[in-house]
């Protein structure tokens, strides 16, 4: 039968990555001096499963490597080897290495990393240390070359088979073994019943019979023995061979008789043992799309809800079949529609739940990160995780990890002080970084809090001046200065360090978060620490939007970005150039973008004083959007424009409204770029 093993690759990759994750978190928890049995077992099991799977599915590089891990872990698990912190390090490095290997397999590229050879060497070395008591296992492979075995000669084998008395109790059936022998050649079966006890002494579940088997076959002894492989320890089996070949017939009878007994194992040369090598590597299916694990509970809720929906549909259907509608059925139709609305809403929520995963999936990688970087920098850090069970959309989670990593790195690198400095400031020697997640409204809030030095406003100001981001005479509040770190091309690292200077600054972090329709805020207090607050929609598939009308068109503005909407009086409007106008709102000057101009169609209100200005957030700066009218607020299902049309600047997607028309969702950041307003505060200055 041809079964394409590559169809299981994706599942294998996913479970391996999960296994590596639990391996990593157990390793980090592990106290090397007193390793917890259950932890070691979990780590072993992860390595064991990856090895088994990779060997089965033909990923021999992974299989060979994990074999080393498995061997070491097995020895530790059995108490044959004492765990050391060196082992822990090697295993942690292996987690990274294996992740990369699996990643390469998923992308179907060759994996090359000098670390692989290096770690292989370290494992082999570690395994070689006082391992003398452990090589007794190979006793079964004592090689006894019998030159008659390798030739495919027709021979008659006489096999005395005395099964153990309990053979049936293990589910082994001698008759099945005989069937198998028949596949090898011509078999004659004789029962030897001399060992039968008296009827009264007989245990019906025991096997008292012996057999004498005569097999005429070309097969080797090894192949015959394979039939009895499972039972050979409990059974007495004697094999006698009589060769049929012409030369053998000429030889004396004693020479061509060979007797082997199962309790003195003899096997033909080891070359045959390697025939069960894994199949050649079949390229894996592309990992695009991926899959998600959903708890049965969530699915049950969904099924339940669909059931309700069907009932409502049946009820409405009944009314629809009536020829005329009287008052009563009108009432029940209204009721039905209400129910339909509520069920649809519930259904939508539950469907969204399917994509929801606890944020612990994202948080999990931080203990390792903080440990490694803390060690590297000589800083003592305690990582506190809160709200790990808070759920959010899988896609959002995947996209938020990188910005979070960046922020945590920053906190470790720039925020937290060294133990000496902390002590001199009268703080605890061990700094803390807290990751906190919770739901608020339709959003998830992720906070990254450290109790370090806080942002150095002097340094930031100096840098901003150097980079020309602010001017000498600008009076800025501490908070305003702190916001400067989000500006493009800003990096405070005196020297680009290995950690923070990875080519991405806070502006990229902010842009990534904006792409998720989220926002990021910063609060920092000198010597008390800093707090980054990321606010994200729970999902990318649905958006809480404000519908606005501009001329004949309806647009959707993400609710999360809107501060307020107002009518502006003439005297608060400043025209600074042909195409740029500012409004004064309390103490700030905000540039106003005329939406109809950017999208090139007509509108009711061409001037700011005629329409409504919606104050929205773009990259932590306020911008006004001129629209005609505010319509309703509603959740809209986001349809990708890129998938269905092509990317349009200033538009992040589209949705279909209740009346069937298409409304474009405004990408504020893109719209600002489109309008050519690169730096709003420049205009304000």
């Amino acid at each position: 039968m041809e079964i394409d093993l590559s169809q299981f690759s994706q599942v294998f990759f996913e479970e391996s990555l999960e296994g590596l994750e639990s391996m990593e978190s157990e390793l980090l928890k592990l106290d090397v001096n007193e390793p917890d049995d259950e932890s070691i077992n979990t780590i072993f099991r992860a390595a064991h499963s990856i090895k088994g799977g990779s060997a089965t599915f033909g990923f021999s590089q992974v299989a060979d490597y994990t074999h080393l891990l498995e061997t070491l872990l097995d020895e530790i698990r059995d108490g044959r080897r004492q765990m050391t912190s060196d082992h822990q390090d090697m295993l942690l490095l292996s987690v990274d290495l294996l992740r990369n290997m699996i990643d390469a397999l998923m992308r179907k590229v060759d994996f090359e990393d000098p670390l692989l050879a290096e770690l292989e060497r370290r494992f082999t070395a570690a395994l070689a240390v006082n391992n003398a008591n452990d090589d007794s296992h190979d006793e079964n492979t004592v090689e006894a070359t019998s030159n008659e075995d390798d030739a495919n000669q027709m021979a008659t084998w006489t096999i005395d088979f005395q099964p153990g008395i309990d053979i049936l109790r293990c589910g082994n059936d001698p008759s099945l073994m005989f069937n198998e022998l028949r596949l090898l050649g011509n078999l004659d079966v004789k029962i030897v019943d001399s060992t039968l006890p008296d009827f009264s002494d007989m245990d019906p579940e025991a096997c008292y019979l012996n057999w004498q088997l005569t097999l005429v076959t070309e097969q080797t002894l090894e192949q015959i023995k394979e039939v009895f492989e499972w039972v050979e320890d409990e059974c007495t089996i004697n094999y006698h061979k009589k060769v049929h070949s012409p030369q053998a017939d000429q030889a004396s009878a004693s020479e061509n008789q060979e007797t082997t007994q199962s309790d003195t194992p003899q096997q033909s040369p080891g070359t045959e043992l390697t025939t069960t090598k894994p199949k050649a590597v079949t390229p894996a299916k592309t990992p695009e799309g991926g899959s998600i694990r959903v708890s049965i509970e969530k699915i049950d809720i969904l099924i339940n809800m669909v059931g309700e929906l069907v009932i409502t549909q049946a009820m409405l259907g009944q009314i629809g079949q009536q020829d005329s509608i009287d008052e009563e059925s009108l009432l029940s139709m209204k009721q039905g529609l209400e129910q339909l609305a509520s069920h649809t809403r519930d259904l939508q929520e539950s469907v969204m739940q399917i994509r929801m995963l606890p944020i612990s999936f994202a948080f999990n990688r931080f203990p390792r990160l903080v440990r490694d970087i803390g060690q590297q920098l000589g800083k003592k850090v305690e990582l506190i995780l809160k709200g790990e069970e808070t759920e959010l959309d899988k896609t959002v989670m995947e996209k938020i990890v990188d910005p979070m990593v960046h922020l945590v790195r920053n906190s470790l690198d720039h925020g937290l002080e060294t133990p000496e400095v902390r002590v001199s400031k009268g703080k605890e020697e061990v700094g803390s970084i807290t990751l906190n997640a919770f739901h608020q409204g339709g959003n998830i809030i992720i906070e990254i809090i450290d109790d370090g030095a806080g942002l150095d406003t002097e340094l930031i100001r100096k840098k901003a001046l150097e980079k020309g981001l602010i001017s000498e005479d600008e009076e800025l509040s501490e908070d305003a200065i702190n916001q400067l770190i989000f500006k493009a091309g800003f990096s405070t690292a005196e020297a680009v360090s290995d950690l923070s200077g990875r080519g991405v600054g806070m502006d990229v972090v902010r842009r990534n978060i904006h792409e998720l329709n989220g926002t990021i805020e910063l609060k920092s207090t000198k010597d008390k620490g800093s707090r980054f607050t990321i606010r994200l929609p729970l999902t990318l598939a649905i958006l809480d939007g404000q519908l606005v009308r501009v001329g004949k068109h309806t647009y959707v503005v993400p609710l999360v970005s809107i501060h307020e909407s107002l009518q502006v009086e003439e005297q608060r409007i400043n025209r600074i150039s042909e195409s740029h106008e500012l409004i004064r709102l309390r103490d700030e000057y905000l540039p106003v973008i005329k939406v109809f101009q950017e999208f090139g169609h007509d509108a009711d209100s061409h001037e700011i004083r005629d329409g409504l200005v919606m104050v929205v957030d773009s990259n932590n700066e306020k911008i006004g959007l001129l629209v005609d009218e505010l319509l309703s607020q509603q959740q809209v299902v986001i349809k990708s424009l890129e998938d269905n049309y092509y990317k349009v600047p200033g538009v992040s997607g589209a949705t279909i409204l209740g009346d069937g028309t298409v409304a474009l969702i405004i990408d504020i950041f893109g719209l600002v770029n489109l309008a050519g307003i690169t730096n709003a505060s420049e205009h304000a200055a």
Binding site: M1, V11, E15, S49, K51, H67, R169, G171, S175, E205
Partner: protein, 120 residues
């Protein structure tokens, strides 16, 4: 149709075993640890149980020991999936009541050959 219970904590192995056996015309039920398998075994009567050894919650050997105490599984073939390094496990498995073993890595053909061997 012969009923087979396939037990493995690794989803990919479980799917591979399940798919292979289903394609060959067996009625396959999957379980992801010994505990789940034991419960399933008590409900449905299986003609064969194939179980991984290393599993969380309840390992394969405990499962086999437990199954053998059930009257319905006294003589049922119970196979374990082991690795070539687990020679000790094979002996342990035999004394736990396992009928035999399949050595990982195995391909679908090897699996089917072994299954046909015990199901006759």
């Amino acid at each position: 149709m012969k009923k087979i219970l396939a037990v493995d904590d690794s989803a990919s192995m479980r799917q591979m075993v399940g798919f292979t056996l289903k394609t060959a015309g067996f009625d396959v039920t999957e379980a992801c640890d010994g505990d789940e398998a034991l419960k399933a075994a008590q409900i449905g009567e299986f003609d064969l149980v194939i179980s991984d050894v290393n599993m969380p919650v309840m390992d394969g050997l405990t499962l086999i020991r437990n199954l053998r105490t059930l009257p319905a599984y006294k003589f049922t073939p119970l196979l374990m999936l082991t690795t070539e390094s687990g020679i000790d496990k094979k002996h342990e498995g035999r004394s736990a009541g396992a009928t035999g073993w399949i050595v990982k890595p195995f391909n679908p053909d090897q699996l089917l050959a072994t299954v046909r061997k015990v199901l006759g």
